[in-house]
Symmetry: C2
Subunit: 144 residues, 2 copies
DNA sequence: TATTGCGTAACAAATGGTGTTACAGAATGA
DNA sequence: TCATTCTGTAACACCATTTGTTACGCAATA
């Protein structure tokens, strides 16, 4: 029952930076083309970001998606949190004999280790605004 | 496509410590009872540990499983490595447009962050011998 | 030689992201 | 008003991975 880290975070970072660089509104259709996927998947995933104030959407003719904040104001951690409420790195403990001291001790070690790793990950995510990704991308594009 | 951290590590820590505390050989049948699971699952998983020299097995009457090292010589990291060859925390990047600078930059941030988190996790796992889990378990059992 | 226990193949179930179709609702513009 | 163009969402099927299970072969031993 694990919440494995999926490909949504990478895809969302990718598309959010593109949206900022393009400036205007983008439809699910066009975003889906950017991500080589389906418009419904895009709405589903961007919908989670909208619930956290990262993007906004409008229906009807001329509608679509746009950023609700600047790239400087969005960190990787913000996007991660929008996509998944729980821990980024769940502990993966066992619960075969909840009262067994050995199982408890084993689980405790794993929980502590994961908490430390998660703290490190969240620290880095939180210190990484999307504007930094945009800057690195432009640098690369120029250099190449 | 993630290699999510599954429940095998926790289960193996649990059973290895029990095996050490019990001292002798244990059959898949008895171990399965400890873990509330099936003997085949036990053979499957312990088989991976045997391939890394952590446990040994013998068939036939009077056979079963026993530790190949002492708990002091086995770290959580050893068990983790035996269960899964690759990274503990795979990066979860996207590959929709491998030549897109924005995708590359997004992936790079994620890869770097995961590498740091994984290093932290491996550091803790490597510094945690199973004897420490056994000690903590006995402490708890005594205290309670 | 009968029993015990591992080794392994084969298959079902559950989980969670993904891909897809279908359709309802809202905004826009002629 | 009405057709068009969007999002919102339900309802599936699909894929990959762990887990659970049955079945059977092989080795060791009393």
């Amino acid at each position: 029952m694990r919440m494995r880290s999926d490909g949504r975070l990478a895809r969302m970072l990718h598309v959010l930076v593109h949206m900022a660089l393009l400036g205007g509104r983008e439809t699910s259709e066009r975003i889906a083309e950017m991500l080589n996927t389906n418009p419904v998947v895009v709405r589903r995933t961007l919908g989670a970001l909208r619930a956290h104030g990262i993007v906004a959407s409008e229906g009807g003719r001329g509608g679509g998606w746009k950023l609700a904040k600047s790239l400087e104001e969005i960190t990787v951690l913000d996007v991660q949190r929008a996509l998944s409420a729980g821990p980024i790195l769940p502990a993966a403990t066992s619960s075969d004999h909840p009262s067994c001291p050995v199982e408890r001790a084993s689980n405790a070690v794993l929980v502590a280790a994961h908490a430390a790793a998660e703290a490190r990950l969240a620290e880095i995510y939180g210190a990484a605004p999307l504007s930094e990704i945009a800057r690195a991308a432009m640098e690369t594009a120029k250099g190449a």
